[in-house]
């Protein structure tokens, strides 16, 4: 850590210590967060930025700085903070273990920082490997694969056809044609809705109409009659007409539905 006295004025205020490099305006933190790939990445940044020895990390210093970040993070992007909080716990644990009085004989592996150092170094190696992979020439970018055009011709020989085969086929077609009859299917532009309106108009004029009188058998073709019938069913369904019959096989009458159903 640099301790030398500094005399500088910023916004009229005398600065007698190096500005904490770690200070990030809250507005900018979100941008910073995007650039870190996680707590290990952030720790590495802090270590490298301050030229700390990764193998002899000053835990107190690092933990304070790290926690500063995480506090800001919690305010801005809570969902991101979980992984970072886990690391805080680890840092604090290491720090407290280092404060404990040590037995006289301390094996190297017992350094509480060992696991963190191992993970930091492994992550750093992967980070560098990723950068290297990214820089390698790749197909689709720096490498262009040759692909000369070639019309792949099917090697399957088409079957040979003689005049007799053709005649035979034609006869078969004729034979089958006799079995088949053509039906002309036209699209009838008949609207059930339109017929519903017609019926309603007629019922409002004539009050009560006998069912069969609704069908004009001379003028209409079958499609029209069907649509007309569908229209009656539709009207009944929608509760717009009442259909009544006194007894079985007696005439059926239609009238407009008026007021409350009985």
């Amino acid at each position: 850590m640099i301790e030398s006295p500094i005399h500088a004025k910023i916004n009229g205020e005398t600065l007698n210590a190096l500005p904490q490099d770690l200070y990030i305006p809250p507005d900018a933190l979100e941008v910073y967060l995007e650039t870190f790939e996680g707590p290990l990445d952030l720790l590495l940044y802090l270590i490298r930025k301050h030229n700390l020895d990764i193998l002899d990390i000053p835990m107190a210093q690092l933990t304070v700085q790290y926690m500063g970040y995480v506090e800001k993070m919690k305010v801005i992007k809570l969902e991101l903070a979980a992984d970072y909080l886990l690391m805080s716990a680890m840092l604090i644990e290491i720090k407290s273990r280092m404060l404990l009085p040590k037995p006289t004989e301390v094996a190297e592996e017992d350094d509480p920082r060992a696991e963190l150092v191992r993970r930091l170094m492994e992550y750093e190696a992967i980070k560098l490997a990723a950068q290297r992979l990214d820089a390698m020439p790749m197909v689709g970018a720096e490498i262009q694969v040759a692909s000369a055009y070639f019309q792949h011709i099917s090697q399957v020989k088409p079957p040979e056809v003689g005049l007799d085969d053709l005649l035979e086929a034609w006869k078969n077609v004729l034979k089958r044609a006799k079995l088949n009859q053509h039906h002309q299917l036209g699209r009838a532009e008949l609207s059930v809705r339109e017929h519903m309106s017609q019926i309603l108009r007629r019922l409002s004029a004539e009050k009560m109409v006998e069912f069969s009188a609704l069908f004009d058998l001379d003028d209409a073709g079958i499609p029209k009659l069907v649509v007309h019938f569908l229209a009656i069913l539709e009207l009944a369904k929608e509760g717009l007409v009442r259909i009544t019959q006194q007894a079985a096989f007696s005439p059926i009458y239609l009238q407009l539905q008026t007021g409350e159903p009985e």
Binding site: G38, D56, D83, E108, M121, E124, V139, S147
Partner: protein, 183 residues
């Protein structure tokens, strides 16, 4: 059917096939060109000669993981790239780091990747790599939950112009040498 009866013609058959295949051709693929009337050793020799023949031409005959292919020599790359001004979007750091972990530490589970990177793996990252056909699932680790084990594919090697994983930059290049922890 007629068979090529001299070296020159055999090489021409190989060349035409490799140029039009649109993907790398393996030795087995190339042997099929000669209807079983070709020795593997002869084929290798012919491929070596073909490579030499193209040495001062515009294309390189290279061997990648899935076979042989012709590709433009590197010095033409920047010109050819101008034909497609829309550069391929770069993968995010998360994607590249995940790829590096799978490449160097395979087969790995999602948990392994999270352990190394210290953050949860975004399923989108794995999906992007699978869609590119650079990684696939090679099995399950026999632990509770049977997590999928991911590995890189041959297409990943093809796209990086490599024949095998051994041709990746050695991982030691990226690790600092161990220094004992001081008191």
């Amino acid at each position: 059917m007629r068979e090529p009866d001299n070296i020159q013609e055999m090489k021409q058959v190989l060349e035409a096939a490799l140029l039009t295949a649109g993907m790398p051709l393996s030795l087995d693929d190339l042997l099929r060109l000669f209807a079983g009337k070709m020795e593997r050793t002869t084929l290798r020799m012919l491929l070596d000669e073909l490579k030499q023949d193209w040495a001062d031409q515009t294309l390189d005959l290279v061997q990648v993981a899935t076979g042989y292919r012709f590709q433009a020599k590197a010095q033409y790359s920047e010109f050819i790239a101008r034909l497609n001004p829309e550069r391929q979007p770069k993968y995010s750091r998360a994607v590249m780091e995940t790829l590096a972990i799978i490449a160097y530490r395979q087969p790995v589970t999602r948990g392994d990747i999270e352990q190394i990177r210290g953050v949860a793996v975004n399923p989108n990252v794995i999906r992007q790599l699978q869609e590119r056909e650079w990684i696939d699932v090679v099995g399950q680790r026999e632990v509770p939950g049977r997590p999928s084990l991911y590995a890189t594919t041959k297409y990943f090697l093809d796209d990086l112009n490599l024949r095998s994983l051994a041709e990746l930059p050695p991982f030691e290049e990226f690790t600092q040498s161990e220094i004992p922890l001081s008191e």
